[in-house]
Amino acid sequence: MLDAPYRYKPGDRVRVAQKPAERHCRTPSYLRGKPGVVMSVTGAYRNPSLLAFHKPGLPVIPLYRVRFRQDDVWEDVTGSPDSVAADIYEHWLLPADGSDTGETSHG
């Protein structure tokens, strides 16, 4: 069960935290610090960074499918219609307009 309500909803503008990777981190480095838009809330899952080391991985963490424009991911790309969609756990996401880097968020 989730401890808290989902923090984001489809359409929300978010930014992936720019912080050091956890072990067995499932947030790809090329998306860290990048802005995106939540496409869907996919549910809540056990923390893979803990599961990989035979821990229960609880409490479960909300997972979101987030769409990133190629223009926002790669500095040398402009005017591309293309995108990347990735599944990002909530403790790696920040509101897009915040100045918080995520260094102090849980997880």
Partner: protein, 224 residues
Amino acid sequence: MGDHHHDHDHAHGHDHDHAPIEEVAAAPVEDRILETAIRELLIEKGVISAEDVHRQIDIVDSRNPALGARVVARAWTDPDFKARLIEHPLKTIQDTFGMDMTSPLELVVLENTPEVHNVVVCTLCSCYPRMLLGIPPAWYKAVDYRSRVVREPRAVLAEFGVTLPDAQEVRVSDSTADLRFLVLPARPEGTEGWSEEALAAIVTRDCMIGTGLPDPAVKRDEAA
């Protein structure tokens, strides 16, 4: 490989670049020995049985692109099935085709439209909808594909022979977490009236990864 004609067993520590073709070769001999040793130890200590191993191999073998192709062909011919497939993919496949689709992972069906063409990758490792399509192709696990398809998707697709309209968004789904992705290609023109078997015959594995498009011209006569 040019200057690399000498024979050796690749249990080596030298630092030259390996051509991509070598990266997709069979597992290194050390890894195979390690796998055998661990498997035999686990069986000897009663953690798993040899039957468990064989049963699992049978399950993996029973999942292959032909199964995925049947799912796609059904979705093309039965709108009600397609709606249920998109809503509850694994349950719908299990109920319709009788395969046990129990999985800790979720399957998401990405439908290609005139606006969006979907491509699947796992940049972190080799996550793949194995419960449906079986073992991924070697190139899917290679660093080359994994690193380039998110960086220059259209260039990679062109190498697979897929060229898309500029206005169609190429959306690369990176399988980073608990979801696995199946691309539902668009039914091509010129297949009106085809049987489900004939349709399934043009749905290749690459079509369901997004690196291919179904081509009615390759229809096999016997499937028509």
